[in-house]
């Protein structure tokens, strides 16, 4: 673990250079411990690091660094093992939403049925949010589902698209350019600026994907529009 200055008004805490649940759990524990600190302007939890923007006129880099080091040293088992929520995210893996499923199947030597089966039978961890508001980076896929990003990124990936890149899976909360391989679409609004909690997922949450057909896709969409949709909390 290392605390470094990051520019002249932020610090970055970096844990071991791996993508793992245990490492990310430390990030989330420090993030939770610092969340209500008034001398912090913003926090950016990521896979193995936490970026801490400071109100430097109130808290210098050096004194914040000492104090944050203490906070980390004092973290105890309950804080390091706190479990996030587990949500079920419905995904339609059928055309026209499965833009790159054929490519993925070719790359991985899997049938489409196997691809869906693998993607929807595992619980994934939300490691961080980034790229655009509410984009959750989730992992990790089994090695045999690893695939390359598209050589030429799409200019417009449709909102709700579920994609794969390397050992990660993610959902586009809004239409955006991107190079992830798209295998389906969720009708859920991953980001909504008019909700109290704008992003559906938080780092540390867990997600399971549930395959749905076109009819259910439309029904969920309708439920969301009329405000009667309820998220499914899954039991991992």
């Amino acid at each position: 673990m290392r605390i470094q200055p990051f520019g002249d008004s932020a610090l970055i805490v970096t844990f071991e250079k791996v993508i793992s649940e245990a490492t990310n759990q430390k990030v989330i524990a420090v993030y939770n411990a610092l969340k209500s600190e008034k001398r912090i302007l913003y926090l950016i939890p990521a896979y193995n690091s936490l970026t801490i923007g400071l109100k430097v006129e109130q808290w210098s880099l050096s004194s914040a660094s000492v104090s944050i080091q203490k906070t980390i040293d004092q973290l105890s088992t309950p804080e390091l093992t706190v479990v996030g929520r587990t949500y079920t995210i419905p995904v339609c893996y059928e055309a026209p939403f499965d833009l790159d499923s054929n490519d993925v199947c070719e790359q991985t030597n899997l049938s489409k049925k196997e691809l869906i089966e693998i993607h929807s039978s595992q619980t994934f961890r939300v490691y961080m949010l980034g790229f655009v508001a509410g984009f959750a980076y989730m992992g990790s896929l089994p090695n045999h589902l690893a695939c390359k990003r598209k050589a030429t990124p799409r200019l417009r990936v449709p909102k709700g698209s579920v994609g794969l890149a390397g050992l990660q899976t993610g959902i586009y909360p809004t239409e955006a350019p991107g190079g992830w391989q798209i295998i389906g679409q969720t009708p859920l609004r991953m980001f909504d600026g008019n909700r109290p909690e704008t992003s559906l997922l938080r780092p540390g949450d867990h997600v399971r994907f549930r395959p749905i057909g076109h009819d259910e896709f439309k029904i969920i969409q309708l439920k969301i529009e009329t405000g009667i949709f309820e998220m499914e909390e899954a039991h991992a």
Binding site: P5, I12, G53, N194, T198
Partner: protein, 294 residues
Amino acid sequence: MPEFLKVKCLKTGLYTSIQDEGRFGVQDQGIPISGALDKSSMRIANQLVGNLPNSPVLEMTLFGPKLKFEGQGQIAITGANMKATLNGKRVENYMTLNIKSGDLLEFHNTDFGCRTYMSIGGQWQVQNWSNSFSALPSLMEEPGLPARLVDDYSFTVAINQMQELISYPERNRPLFSECYVIRVVTGPEFDQFEIEVIQDFFDRIFVIHGDSNRMGYRLKDNLQDYVPSGEEISSGIVVGTVQISNAGKPIILMADAQTTGGYPRIANVVSDDLEIVAQLKPGDELKFMLVSLE
């Protein structure tokens, strides 16, 4: 009863948006900080019309908008000189200007500098979201959230009491040049770069690429013999981070940049120099100078 000044945007110009101090505390959800890129110009503009320094302003880029007013009020223009005309007559920057109903304000191009700011005295009746009036970057445009200006967009301002016309002292006004030395401190991955690459980074004069915007400044030249040291794990980004793309091109991340990235971060621009970067336009030049913290 407050009086209102209505501003109608007839033509938006290249990229015009409402900006203030920025939006802090929501970066954990992947939302950029945003805010005026040249904060000094924003504050001076607000001061000239009797607003609090962090009140919203219009930020314009390279070529400004065409605005029509209804009602009366006061405005001020700061930053890069876009040769603004009020009803066809040139007006001066850095002073309070009176506006009356039917006035037409046209901004043109900049010769030096990149961004121009316009304040309006009073309370802006515009969308506030997560404690900021700043437009979300175009990638995050969602109905009902603050966005950049488009043709025919209009908004109103509940105007302040008219105040005495003041002028910002000429000797304090910034002069914009086409070449700057930008101070940086070492970035989180500084030690990971080969010494030759670091030397090249600080020796070279970089040219600003045309594909630069509020998200980031791309620099035209590649660092010599740069070989990426392998895949980085995505990590947080702060405004002013200088990252090196796999092709060896430096990118300076600005206020609308995404909150995380996967390129190694060689350096960070010091806070005071961010507004100098913000006033560089495509084709302008910069050189990095390493300084220590404090």
